[in-house]
Point group: C2
Chain length 393, copies 2
């Protein structure tokens, strides 16, 4: 079994449950912090553990370019490479590649693109994306899709959806033929017994959860889970068709893609609500790239299990902090002598120890600690928001 | 009492002891990490506590310019501002000001200089430096001296030494007249009872050392300690004279300044050894701006109590790491697939969890976590070096 999904509580449309992955349990609904280049920018892994992060998102596009999948595979996969013993999900690389609008060319086979790092030319196809994601070895991997731009003409939306469906079937086929190649199963021989035993020791020491105490055997009897992605632009009928035909191919979970691409927020919500009607109730549902704290709470209540967004981490780097009393731009001079914590209702390490005045100084002085502390706070705020939603279900 | 210094063990010239400061004990010999702008770049305060840092160095020049002494004084001093409950030492600002060679003018009264931040004009004198340092409220503050350049003519060295002696007397006088103005004694009224009680709570929660459980009364009955600085260039006779005349003025401890300014390492050591002969055995001795791990161990064995240096933190930011097997430049491609820890003999968090391959990736990808983890390792290495020296005495 690659992924066991249990629903333990429901409340209206909302569902509370657990994703049991080869690298431990993930309580749902869950917010997944983004660790683009095998790191959540500025935050050590033990702090992510303290924050009770149970699943991280890694970006296939970035990891494929640097340090490269061959290196990560050789070193036993992404978990071992970054010393993160809990669950990981990788995206397919599709979204990043489509964001390189001037640097890419799409055809039936896949996408040719140029690296943003050095301009070198690369090719990603459904098969290649899955191959790379198997090499990275996340617990959950995503089908390679085309994220339809917004706005788009009806014909363009249908063509793009059809392409995504053909690619989904190719992803599924490649995955079924190659899923045993995940680096968990051969890491011992690949890097030598000493390195492995030392790593296993580290994993068990850094992880205090009994579920993972026999982690090695868990991973050795497991494969990754592959999720399909529903497209169809802002057209409800196409979303329905995309959902039904994606389910027909058959995946371990279903994502709603192609949203948060510039459309009005009310439209996003309408499309999510209508798409959810067609997704199986016994599989996890993942809304990609969403959103603000209010949005993640609202979508969790609609029945979404998983969400990811760069907002908490990126905003932190720009001094924008989420609090129970609204957003704070810590660079403002009004905070220069403010002795109170960022958020008086927050129990994170940062609010517990530091004043707004100090955080404002760190930001104004361009100190790296500003980024570190701001990111810890914003992640805590997002994770705590989701914790509250789970408890309310 | 401002500072109680106890020697508990001696071994040849080496001394093991404890500096009892208003903000807790400091076991000596000690290496003091540099926290220039009220932060050790990239490292949260709770990690510094985990590393068993007992005293930090703050830079008066930088803090005077940003966020400014009035702000820090108003907020209760540097300890409260940065939420650091353990000991702090501030330098006088002299060294930084003298480093601005094109931007400063020295006369009998003091030094006029231009800010490196915005070019604004400022004036530091012995009185002003001590006034600023009282406002910052470190446990140990330094006399304002002139750091003689190297090489220098005999007359220049003497004139500079005489100026430092006159300034030392002015520092002492100003300090004696104003030492009760340290912000510890009036912080309650300055920021309101609620903020104080919340802060005291944080201090006691973040600090697990029983010595500090009645910290408030400790600081309220204490003043800062003022250290004098011995100059005299590379001239042993002048060093002797400087030491004797500085001792005559009378300070709580004595620093050896004007070294590590470009002279050969053997000369540094000769001057330190000869100067130490003239420093009182019952007072702490501080060698400023030194050095490599080998040097800090060697000088501790000669009888130096305190050292500071930007080397471990600055080198970390450039990917230069100190290990028991020598220096490592982590950017080198030879580490790209190296699964071993940075230093197999190191028990720090970083060596415990991460591989050289991962640290190399973080550095190559210009990730902030590289700086954070590298700094934690280098500081641990320095602190552990000093811990071993203490145990060997």
């Amino acid at each position: 079994m690659s992924l066991r999904f249990e629903i333990t509580q429901t409340n209206g449309t909302a569902r509370r449950g657990c994703l049991n992955t080869p690298h431990g349990p993930v309580e749902t609904p869950v917010f997944m912090p983004v660790g683009t280049q095998a790191t959540v920018k500025g935050v050590p892994q033990h702090v992510l553990e303290e924050l009770e992060v149970q699943i991280l998102l890694g970006n296939t596009y970035h990891l494929y370019l640097r340090p490269g999948v061959d290196l990560i595979r050789k070193l036993g996969g992404l978990h071992r490479f970054m010393s993160w013993p809990r669950a990981i999900l990788t995206d397919s690389g599709g979204f990043q590649v489509f964001s390189l609008s001037d640097l890419r060319k799409v055809n039936e086979e896949g996408v040719t693109f140029r690296s943003h790092l050095d301009g070198s030319s690369h090719f990603l196809s459904p098969e290649k994306s899955v191959e790379v994601q198997i090499g990275l070895g996340a617990d959950i991997i995503m089908a390679f899709d085309e994220c339809t731009e917004y706005p788009a003409e009806p014909k363009r939306i249908r063509d793009s959806m059809e392409l995504t469906l053909r690619w989904a079937a190719r992803c599924k086929k490649y995955f079924e033929e190659h899923k045993d190649e995940v680096p968990w199963s051969y890491q011992q021989s690949a890097i030598g017994p000493q390195a492995v035993s030392s790593f296993e020791f580290q994993v068990s020491r850094s992880l205090d959860r009994p579920q993972n105490s026999n982690q090695e055997s868990d991973t050795r009897n497991s494969t990754q889970a592959l999720f399909g992605i529903v497209q169809g632009g802002m057209d409800r009928a196409l979303r329905k068709e995309s959902a039904e035909r994606t389910i027909e191919i058959g995946f371990d979970g279903y994502a709603i893609g192609g949203l948060s691409v510039g459309e009005p927020r009310t439209l996003t919500r309408e499309i999510v609500e209508s798409t959810l009607e067609y997704l199986p109730r016994d599989k996890p549902r993942y809304l990609m790239g969403v959103g603000t704290p209010e949005e993640i709470a609202a979508y969790a209540k609609l029945g979404i299990e998983m969400m990811d967004c760069v907002l908490p981490t990126r905003a932190a780097r720009h001094g924008l902090l989420f609090t129970s009393e609204g957003k704070i731009s810590i660079k403002q001079s009004r905070y220069a002598t403010d002795q109170s914590p960022l958020d008086p209702n927050c129990s994170c390490r940062v609010c517990h120890r530091y004043s707004r005045a100090y955080l404002r100084h760190l930001y104004a002085a361009n100190e790296v600690l500003a980024q570190v502390l701001n990111t810890i706070h914003n992640l805590f705020y997002y994770l705590d928001t989701m914790r509250r939603v789970r408890h309310s279900i």
